[in-house]
């Protein structure tokens, strides 16, 4: 059941590079990452690819396969026809280090800009009491394996490098939603979501949800609910009117 497949793989260092053609053996049941590894073992030992668990649980092998962000370990070769050329490129939104490996430090930087979980000071470990239905929403977001494909596909930064400093990306806006919905979190996150982390940049075109390998409903369950929470705070005309009349600052309501 094995055949020779045509692969085009982007190779290069630090931005400069090109698509190179390969013909490589494919066996039944293999995934794209297997084929990349075969190239590594038989044709180009220094072909760089980042990977780890090979089971869709760690989110390391994010790449773009025929133009679509995918996990290499979760893309079966049987989804392509035998005469189809499979094009594999690194994620476009992040600087490339080498071949398929990108520098994803943007994401770690953003992670650190989101204020951490803030429980009330008086609750001690072991004293937390939460109902299952109250934690389920945030649990969905915590399924995230941080493959960063949502941040990669989001056109806000994919097509506009200049927005990177003002936009946390779906992954970390979802993190804000996760904490904002946490039954014990007391930090106020609504104004900062809009002002500092760029929730307003999101135009809910749902590409983050489309590419999520964990099938998290990022847009419907995290981003839009967060937008609605911001509306409560900032764009409710009644609140706005009240603030005007009583001369309160709209941001500390």
């Amino acid at each position: 059941m094995s055949y020779k497949a045509k692969f085009r793989v982007w190779r290069g260092e630090g931005g400069e590079g090109k698509l190179e053609d390969f013909t490589v053996e494919v066996n039944e049941g293999e995934v794209v990452l297997d084929i990349i590894h075969r190239l590594q073992a038989t044709q180009v030992p220094d072909l760089a690819v980042r990977w780890n668990c090979k089971a869709g649980k760690c989110g390391s092998c994010s790449m773009e396969i025929n133009g679509r962000p995918k996990l290499g370990c979760m893309t079966r070769m049987s989804t392509f026809t035998e005469d189809e050329t499979v094009t594999v490129t690194p994620m476009r939104t992040f600087p490339v280090i080498k071949d398929l490996v990108t520098d994803v430090s943007f994401n770690y930087k953003k992670a650190r800009e989101i204020p951490s979980f803030t429980p009330p000071a008086e609750v001690k470990p072991g004293e937390f009491r939460m109902q299952q239905i109250d934690v389920e929403r945030s649990q969905e977001f915590r399924k995230c394996i941080e493959c960063f494909m949502c941040n990669n596909v989001c056109h806000v930064i994919r097509d506009h490098e200049e927005n990177k400093s003002n936009f946390a990306g779906p992954r970390f806006l979802m993190r804000i939603a996760e904490l904002d919905m946490h039954p014990y979190d007391v930090a106020d996150r609504k104004d900062s979501a809009q002002e500092e982390h760029g929730l307003g940049f999101c135009n809910i075109t749902k590409c983050c949800t489309e590419v999520c390998p964990e099938h998290i409903k990022i847009t419907d369950n995290a981003l839009i609910p967060m937008k609605e929470r911001v509306v409560d705070r900032r764009y409710d005309p009644l609140v706005w009117l009240g603030n005007k009349i009583f001369k309160r600052s709209s941001s500390n309501s």
Binding site: E13, N27, E28, G29, E30, V31, L33, D34, Q40, A41, P45, D46, L47, A48, V49, R50, N52, C53, K54, A55, G56, K57, C58, G59, S60, C73, M74, R76, S78, I97, K98, D99, V101, D103, V104, A111, R112, P115, S116, F117, P119, V123, K124, P125, G126, F128, R129, M130, Q131, Q132, V135, S138, Q139, R142, K143, C144, I145, E146, L179, H182
Partner: protein, 637 residues
Amino acid sequence: MEIERHEYDVVVIGAGGAGLRAAIEARQQGKRTAIVCKSLFGKAHTVMAEGGAAAAMGNVNSKDNWMVHFRDTMRGGKFLNNWRMAELHAKEAPDRVWELEAWGALFDRTKDGKISQRNFGGHEYPRLAHVGDRTGLELIRTLQQRVVALQQEDEKLHGDAEAYIKVFQECTVTRLLKDMSPAHGPGGAIAGAFGYWRENGKLILFDAPAIVLATGGIGKSYVVTSNSWEYTGDGHALALLAGAKLINMEFIQFHPTGMVWPPSVRGILVTESVRGDGGVLKNSEGKRFMFDYVPEVFKAQYATTEEEGDRWYTDQANNRRPPELLPRDEVARAINSEVKAGRGSPQGGVYLDVSTRLPAAEIIRRLPSMHHQFKELADVDITKEAMQVGPTCHYVMGGVEVDADTAAASVPGLFAAGEVSGGMHGSNRLGGNSLSDLLVFGRRAGAGAASYVNALAGRPKISDEAVTDAKAEALAPLQRSGENPYEVHHELQRTMNELVGIIRKEEEVSEALESVEKLKERAQGVGAAGSRIYNPGWHLALDLRNMLLVSECVAKAALLRQESRGGHTRDDFPGMSPEWRTKILLCELTPDGSEVIVQEQVQPPMRDDLIQLFDRDELKKYITEKELADFDALAKE
């Protein structure tokens, strides 16, 4: 070439559960801490853990407490465990889990809002704190976010987020460096670590008086494993090379049901609950072969006919359980023999069939993650066809010999926690005890390292000579144009899988040792073409040294231990021997570093109050006549 150089109080190698917990502790005790890891931050193998973290919180069954957990752990390890570790683990696990919750972890809940706990093999009460079947991910993410929280604190306090805790990701440590001056004792003391950046191949040097190893396991020495590429036994080898000792290296847990097909997911776990919910094992002839493999000691508890076995699922009171539910090691051995006898599936496993046993909707309801896993990874619908499964290398019980309370190894300044440390699990680990192990001993290692640094009179220094040697070693494969390292690696994996696998025989293990010797020579000559930028061939060439050292330990210890216990099965010595229980096998490197030597060491007897937690009837199956007499004397007092 200039070598990047950093100074820290504590360097933690590995960013899995144990490493992160250790780093958090060291930082919380005011130590400047570095975390060095081969993967990206948050990708460690801990994310693969599904079941949960065992902690006797008693949320579901209030009868549970640390003593019951301690007993279960010792039983699971066939009484070979370091009892002090098992004790600390059982006592401290609840606090470690609660602490995670205060850092933002969201475990599944009980009705009254506490952390829910689930049943698991070998645990007397429901004990595993869990989040669906992704507990490991929750643990890693929570610890990762805790590190970030500490960095945010530091940023507010010092204006520099990385002032006290910094992650060096995609960075591999190749050598631990010691200060050998007499001031630091006869064997010297840890002075730092040497490594390279995976992404650009640049070299890096850490000056640090304390190093915590938290590098996980050794599964990549085997062909079929549930472990990731990172599991090349780095910590085991670094410890050996630094003069520390490894214990229990012959004990490796093979999970009976790993996926065998497709190739990309070979070894990935198929959860035990498939069998618990009615799944049966069949060979290529369609026969439920497990009925032929019920050992004498279990005959009374297991069904002898398929009819009786099938009745058990609905009526457990009046029927004996089917032999598919024998302990992991028994099932793994049975599958192994069927395949060896030529009755395996086309891809070298056996069939695990649930599709003919339960209606499709029921399978999806009871086994959602398995249904999803096979659908997405193998394109197999388990409601319509059988799965192919086979044993997979899962966990190494052995590791660095450490002090239970401080996690300190015998080399001053060296600490180890998690899978890379040895003793806690004895000869066999219980499911769920791994995640709690990481937390309990991760914290202890961090604290141990911090107090070691506090007590230090002067900081050990790295000699230029040591750096030169380490550098030469690291760069050597790039300058050779020898054999492809992948070939040596594959050969090693095959050797270990076939000759030092689930079932071991003297001749086979000896053959493996000869083979490892030859591979060691070949590894000296492997070359890695290409640049230093993200060059996987070069990385593998360097990892080979570690895998070979570890394999040598496993094979040598397996050859010496003439009994079968937990994760070590000798075909030629099938029984468990009370005499051997009192002995621990200790691996260390000869002074010239060329060879592993294995010695016997006496296991210290269990503390009186701990051994009295057990029944005499149970103990007599494990301990010697003399030990039993001591126990009786104790009981009379």
